[in-house]
Structure formats: C-alpha cells, structure tokens
C-alpha cells in the first residue's frame, strides 16, 4: 500500500529572495513544508512514511547554486551541484580527488544524476525500523523517529534521554568534507550564516541537523589543502546502490593522522592524532583505530552483523593509511 501523500502544493522558487519570502509566508500561516533538491531521499520517504505536508518546496529552480568555482586557494561548491557533476568536475578531480571518489560511491548513476551534494550532507539518518514497509509499521509500535514512544534498537530508551534515536548517519561525502574542514553557508528567514560542516551534525537520530526551520544550505567552501593526502573507503555488499555500512575517510597531514567515520553512529565521527604523541606511526594508527571502535554504535540495523562492521573499522583505517603512503612514494 502506498501512503504517498499527493495533495500538497508543489512550489519551485527561482531565487533565494523568493525562497525566503515563501518560507516566511508559510511560517506565518503555520503551514507544514519540506525542501527537496534532487528528491532522491525525500520522495521515497514521502512514499513510505506518514506526512502532513502542505507545501513541497523544490530547490531545483535556484540555478545559482549549481556550480563549482575556484577563487585563489578556495573552492566553492553550490549545494545543488549533482553528485555526478561533482564527481566528474575538472576542478574537483584536480584539487579534491577524494571528494570526487566519495561522490562517485553514492548510490547509482541514475541517482547521482539527480542527487545533490547539499542533499547528501543532509541525507536523513536511517534505521531498519524507520525505513520500513507500511505493514511492518503497523506490526511494531511507532518508534521515536515516527513520533512514537519506543526505540526498537534500544528498548530502554525514554523521552528525555540525550540520545533518543539511534538511526545512523549514512552520508558518503561528509567524512571527506569533514577532513577537508569544509564550511557551509546557510540562508534562512533570519539571514545568512557560515559554520563548519561538523557543527551541522547533532547527536540525536531524529533531529540530526542543526539547521533551523526554513534554513537551507547554499554553498560548501573548501580550502585547497597543501601537503595532504586523503582516502575514502566504503563498506557495502554491492558496488552500487547501497548506503555505507561503514565509511572511513583518512587524511595524513605531514605525519599527523585524521579520520572521519560514517555509518556507525547517529553522527559522523572525526578523530585526530598528532604523531608527536606516539612512538611509532603504527602506534598512532592503532590508537586512532581504538578510538574509532569505541565511537561505533553498531546496532543490528544493517545487512552486515554488528560485530563484523566493527571489526572492519581498523581494517579500513589501515587500508586508507597504506594507500596514502603508497601514493606518496
């Protein structure tokens, strides 16, 4: 059975001013609205999860946000740049090749042709109990993320807990962007602001982004790194379609090591290690691997058993390190 709600208005503003006016109007009238860029995350959710939308705001009319620019040492990526365009863009391939790789590892060619980089860093957290069939919803009590009162993964969870929902973070591009210290510009009814990408992500699986109602991401800015090497490795049973069961980005700057993780917790994990604190490089790798494994909250909500996913963390970190060191030679 399809729950697809079809009786909402579809609006497509063509400028940021127009967008802001619409948002203000809807807020004043108390209307429910949702944003969609490529729609590849939002529309399937509309089909499977109950919603009471009044307005469906497509961001695809904002042409200014669909480009990649370079200014000196800074690359600026419009949030509506599709993952296909990003993965094949000359500037990105030249200066940020690992970002191109990560973008290429998202879903399938068809989805990447529609899905945007803004959408991928905003992609909603997932859990087998929320991204589930209509009938299974009837069978189970609704969970916190479905406005219910239970968590099927953590039975003891209660309202008021710091982390109510364990739905996991699944963006492929975020780990690489985080290690590149990306900044994002956000506009909304109260004007524009720029924050570190890391500040976008919150601990709880329900409201997992720090955007205010009516805010959208417009651009992602990255300083082109010097003397660094990155690697992104994704765990998925197929080479297409799947969300990461685990994703590990590794960056080596000088002799220091940074990693960023996806697919393991309600938000991405970022860890840095300074080589001066360790006797050997290998010690540093083991220490950061231990931190990463402690960070992992692998509930059974994936194709792979939890123990396996956890055990792959050090393997993937080591692969990233090995690959970077090999490239440097």
């Amino acid at each position: 059975m399809s729950l697809f709600q079809e009786n909402f208005d579809f609006v497509r503003p063509t400028s940021l001013d127009q967008l802001n006016d619409l948002v203000k109007e809807y807020q004043e009238k108390g209307l429910e609205f949702a944003f969609s860029a490529g729609g590849t995350d939002v529309i399937p959710k509309l089909k499977s999860q109950p919603s009471q939308l009044d307005k469906f705001i497509s961001l695809n009319g904002l042409q200014d946000l669909n480009n990649v620019k370079i200014q000196g040492k800074r690359i600026s990526i419009g949030a509506l740049t599709t993952l296909s365009d990003l993965a094949s863009h000359e500037l990105v391939r030249e200066h940020l090749p690992t970002l191109a790789t990560a973008a290429h590892k998202v879903a399938s060619p068809q989805i990447r042709n529609r899905a945007t980089i803004g959408g991928n860093i905003m992609v909603d957290n997932r859990c087998i109990y929320i991204n589930q069939s209509s009938i299974n919803r009837e069978c189970h009590d609704p969970c916190f993320k479905a406005d219910g009162n239970v968590c099927h993964l953590v039975k003891s969870a209660r309202r008021g807990d710091e982390i109510l929902c364990q739905a996991r973070f699944v963006s492929d591009t975020a780990p690489v962007l985080l290690l590149l210290n990306a900044k994002i510009t956000i506009i909304g009814p109260n004007g524009a602001r720029t924050i570190s990408l890391g500040d976008l992500y919150l601990k709880d699986g329900i409201d997992s982004r720090s955007l205010q109602v009516g805010e959208v991401i417009t651009t992602i800015e990255i300083e082109i790194p010097e003397d660094t090497s990155l690697h992104y490795e994704k765990l998925a049973i197929r080479n297409a379609l799947d969300f990461p069961s685990l994703g590990v980005a590794v960056r080596i700057t000088g002799n220091n090591l940074s990693i960023a993780l996806t697919g393991l917790n309600t938000l991405p994990g970022v860890f840095h290690a300074n080589s001066s604190n360790y006797d050997t490089f290998n010690d540093m790798v083991s220490a950061i691997s231990t931190q990463a494994m402690d960070f992992a909250k692998t509930y059974q909500q994936d194709f792979f058993p939890r123990g396996y996913r956890k055990s792959m963390i050090p393997v993937f970190i080591q692969r990233g390190v090995t690959s970077i060191l090999k490239d440097r030679q």
């Binding site: 059975m1 399809s2 399938s108 087998i128 069939s133 009938i135 299974n136 049973i237 297409a240």
Partner: protein
Amino acid sequence: MAKAPDFGYKIIGKPVPLIDSRAKVMGQALYTDDIRLHNPLIIKILRSPHPSANIISLDTNDALNLDGVKGVLTGADFKNTFGVLTISKDEPAIARDVVRYEGEPVAAVAAETEDIAIKALALIKVEYELTEGVYDSKKALKPTEHPLHPELGKENNLHKNVVQEFGDMERGFADADVVVEKRFRFASINHAFTEPHATQVEIDNQGNITVYSATQVPHYLHMAMAEVLEIPQHNIRIVKPHLGGGFGGKSDPFPHEMIAAKFALDLGRNTRLKFSREEVFFSHHGRHQTDLTMKLGFSKDKGITALGLNTLIDGGAYGSFGIVTTYYNGVLLQGPYKVPNFRFHVDRLYTNKPMCGAMRGHGGVNPRFASEVLLDMACAETGLDPAETRLSMIHKENTLTTNEYRVTSVGLRSGLTEAIKRTNWHEKHGKLPFGKGIGVACGFFISGSALPIHWNKLPASTVRITIDHDAGVTVYSGATDIGQGSDTMLAQMAAEVLGQPLENIKVISADTRTTPVDLGSYSSRVTFMAGNASRNAAIRMRRLLVEAACELLEMIPPNYDRPDKPDNFFRQGGRKPDFEQGFLGPNPDYADGFIFEDGLIRSEKHNASVTFLEAVEKALEFEGILQTSGTYRAPKMGGKFKGSGAGLSPSYSFTAFIVEVTVDPETGFIKVDKATCAHDCGMPLNPLAVNGQIEGCIHMGLGQALMEEMVYDNGATQNPSFLEYKIPSAFEQPEVDIVPCYSDDSEGPFGAKEAGEGILAPIIPAIANAVYDAVGIRLTQLPMRPDRVLSALEREKKRGEKS
C-alpha cells in the same frame, strides 16, 4: 557465445533478436498494468500486520459507506480454497478467521480512485487475537495442538514428507574410499522479477470476464479461477500481456487474481489491481529456506558409491508447488553422475511466513550446492582432480538412472573438456596464490516435466497454425512468453519448416480464448514441448501446401504414409510405443522432395515450382481456411514405484561451470572474476537467447551465492524492498565465457533441450569450490556473506594452530 552446429538450417541455430525485443526497448510493449480498460475500479488489499492471529471481528461498514467505495470483500465471500497442485488446495483468496502470515489478505476494497481505496482500507476495523506462531522448520516438526492446517489432521506442521531409497546404502558407503558429510543451510530467496504482479479484469454485458494478468500459467489460473468463483471456465478468458519476468514467482494462481475477478463479477465493473514491491515480497513464493545434511561416499575407481540426505524445507503458510519442491530436493540429484545407492528424506513444513514455491532451478538448487561441495571435498581427500573426476563421471548417452530416468542425449563431456582447456584449469587449480582460486561444479535439470499437474490424457502442448489468403502465417499457442523468448522460438519452428522469413510469422500466445492449451511456463518445458507442437503443426501445414503445389504442378504428391523413426529402448523407456494414429512422433523428419525458399515451393527432382502464395490459394480452395494443429506428449516412461513420476522428463540438460574468484582475507569479500560455462541445451535454437539465459543465471546464482536473503523477525518480513533485499548490481557480474556445447537430442525440436533453469544451480557451488581453492575454507551456508567467510577463516586458522 553459444554456437550451433551447421545443419543447413536457415533460421534454427541462428542468433536472432527476440521478436518482441524492439517493442520492449521502445516502450511500446504493453504489460498488464499498461492496459487501459474503460473506467476501472481500483482494488486495494488490506493485509494482516500479524503473522499468526485469529480474526475475532471484521467491520467493513465504515469503508463501505465511504463515498466512492463500490465494494468490500472478506474471506466469507469465497467458499473454495485453491492451490496450483490438486493435492494441496489449501489457500483461501482472503483469510478466513485465521491469518497464517504477515501480509496475508484479510479484506479487499474496490473504489473509484486509488486514494479512496487507500482511505477505505484504513476504515476497515479488524480485531485480531494474536496466537503463537511457528517460524522455524525444526520447531514446526514438533507436536502441537494448533497446527497451521488442522484440516490435514496432523499433530504437527508437516506438510509433506518424501523418502525414497534405491540400492543398498550401507554397502555403498562400505565401498567408498572416503565418506564426507556436512550440514548445509540456505536462506530463502525471492525471484526479484522486474514487473510486480498485476491483474486487470474486463467484464462484458453477459457476465463474461477477460482477465489480463501477469501470470506464467494461464491454463492453471483458468481452472483455479473457475473453481474459486464457481462459474464455468468458458465464462473466463485469461490473457497474459507482455510479462516482466517470472522465474517461477508467477506460476501459481494468486489471491489477488481471484479478488479482482470477483469484484468485476459482483459489481459489473472493470477492475484494476497492481502490487507494490512490498506486496511482491509479502506474497513471496520464492525458494524454500533449507536445512540439509548430506553424506557422500566416493571411490577413486567407481566414483560416487552412495549419496544420502536429510532435509527440512520451510514452506511458509501454504502449499503452493511445495510437494513438487519436496521431491525435487531429492530426485534431481540423479544426474549428472551415476548415483548407484541413493536415499533422501525431505520434510516440507508449514510455518507462519509467506509461502515458498517454485523458483528457477526448483528444489534442485540447494541440494546441488551440497552435493557439488561434498564431491569437491571427496576429490581433495583422495587427491583427484575435481574437474577430470567430474568429466569421467558424467552420464553416458542413453542411460537409465538408478531411479529409472531415461537419460538420452548428453553433450556435456566435450563442453567441460573445452572449458578445462580454455580456463587453463590444470595450470591454475591448486596452484594460484593465496586469495585467488578456481572451482568447478556441474548440474543437471529436467527439460519439462513429463507428467501434467492435473492428471489428464490431453497433449502436454498443442499449437495451431493458420495461413491467411495473403500468405501470412500465424502461430497460436498457449505457451507463455515470460521474457525468455518462447514466442520467438515458436516462430522459429514455423519459419524453418515453412521456409519463411521470421518476420512473416505472427505469434498469438497465452490467451485461453484463442490459443490451444499449453500447460504454462514452468519446469523448463516450453521449448521442448510447445516447440515440438509448433514444429509438428508446421509440418502438417507444409504437407497441405506440398499437396496443393503438386496439384498445380500436376505431380503425384509424396507418400507420407511411412513409419516414424524406429523406436528404441531409450525412446520409449522400455515400453511399447504409444503413438496414436495420426500423431506425429517427436522430431519427425519432414523431407518431402520439395524446397521452400525465396517465396517458392520448388520440386527437388523436377525443375518446377509454384509460389508460396499460389500454393496457399490452391490449398484454400478445399476448406476456405488453412489451418493445422500439432501436439506434443511425452512418451510413457518411469519406474513402477511410488513417486516415480517426480522429475521424469523426456530429456535432461547438463551444465558445467568453472569459476575464478578473488577472496579478500581481511574483509572476507568474494569477488567472482570470471565464469566459464558449458551448457548442453541440445541444439541451441537461438544462440543469442541461450547466451541471455546463461548470463541471467550467472547473475541470479551470484545473488543467492553472495548476498540475497529474505530476512524474517518472528515471521515479519524485514527487507521488502530492492534497497534492503540485495540483488547484485551490474558491477558484480563477472566476465563470462560461454563454451560451445551441444548435443542432438533425438526427441527435442530440432534437437533442442532446456536452457532456462539448469544453468543456475552449478554456478553457486562452483563459487564455493573456488573459494576453497583460494583460501582453504568450506562454506556451508548461503549467502556466503563476507562475515561468514571471515568466521570460517578464523576457524580454519584455529584448527591449523591446534594441529
């Protein structure tokens, strides 16, 4: 690339695109849900959210009172249960009082729009009393006071038990140099066809209904529907439009088909229904979850000395094809090698899960995995080469197996020999670096079930051919093209015999009003049976045209009154010939002294010819219409013991795979690098279609081998979507090398056998055997997920440290 030997045929054996491929690629082919009937009611099904419950009350009043709702059906509206097999008609169209699986229909709504229908479903109030379900086949064997099907009068949830024993097992194992035994477990998997189930029903002003449905078996649907709706069959016409894949998953009559037809009859309105992908997974009918223990005795000199297995298959809530599946879990092990002493014990259990049924390779796939892995182990223990050993053990032509199947043509030996050569097997096996491996496995499958599901004496397939006054040839057949290309195959038969270009042959198929009965697309029967029928109808047509040509040319027509090819033991299974008068035996020779080509019918002896059109016009003078029929029926075969008919087929196909893999010992990922296939399908009628079947089987086998799995949590389907149910993507498909492999089957049409199912089974154990060659582990559980590979590697490491 599959390749056919050159027998001088013009169309047979040539790689021709399927006749409907252009329409499909251009988006012009109409699938069931593409048909636009006038003003249909939209039907939605309310499904149980509980796998095991009693329905205490069901209130449909609010739904019925909703504006735009035209009708509501519940279990009380259907008296008769149904099932594809006459011996297990245990499924209601809508659950009555009891629900047995999550997703079972409990009510249905017909409304003017989809929105209204969905709203109405929410207004139906069902009060359930949850009952204790059984979700595991071992538990289902235990006695219970509340079996799923109390009408069977059993004390547990056993649906069917089959035990067959041949020879002397004890002596067989005593004769062995090595005895290997293992327990194997297999997840249930889904067909994952592209087109979800859909049905539309058109009703005329006399109450006749035309049912357009995505089905593999119009004939069985026809019979089941007449019984469930309690109307004569002639009031029902079943039409199968273009179909987007079946793989066995559309070979049962389904509840939704009954529901859509019932609404049309009750309300006098056209109806329309289609499944979401979720509903496809809830309906399932896929491969049984299987738990089997197998023991193989092997002698260096004699080959397999004994094979025994004990198997539990989890059937889910209803019977479906399950009884056949139960037999096939045993009997299909009678090839491709001689098994002199053989015993199997298979139990099919009812559980509170969506039912399992027929799926490509039906019942034979999982035991094949076990036997081919055990054979590999036996070879490893005795130091024999697993490819050469298999080569030496393949059935010889014209063999009677231990359970009395007559095996006629066998073309695999040359194919496997070539595959060994092409893959450089001897340079690779056991010699590749750690992590790289090569493995081999063989398979065997029926080329159509010799016996019908509903016992009768009618031909297994009948084909009618007509030629219009404009010389256009039309082939009418009940055979169901489900994407495998059977329409093209029927056209090829007629085109070859009548010397016409393929595009001059029109095919009308799978319409119970206009086409003669064919039993449907299952058990890989269509090429063999409908193919023979089409060929025979074309031969009869050819005779009419030759007679007309002779009259025009003032020649004496050829004398057809000569005996068919001599019978021999293997043709008739040791029994008396059963050729009725006028019945053209399989594969009759049609040489008649005339050549049909270039629009002419030319006498070979005399330098004289008429045009095809002139002959048609002359022939039409007699009757006004030009029409012939051809039939196929399997010869009488088989042993005289109970259950001897299971797996009986007029011919058998043989397959070998050599697979090369890379195993990552750190992550446990298996990458299949290359699959080399030799498949003996007799004469490859259309090498392009054979290639497609081989590539498709590799893809499907890869899925079951590495990732596909229906996940249930106490009966609740956990992954009813193509995101969470993992089918391999194009990236996982390996390089494929198809080795020429053929035999000339004496009874297959132009020597052909099946190419649709048998290919699937051996690819899976070939992967497992290649993994053993790569990293030294025996995987016994499907899918062979990376975590299972790692666990096995750790166990192997510990074992190595101990010893």
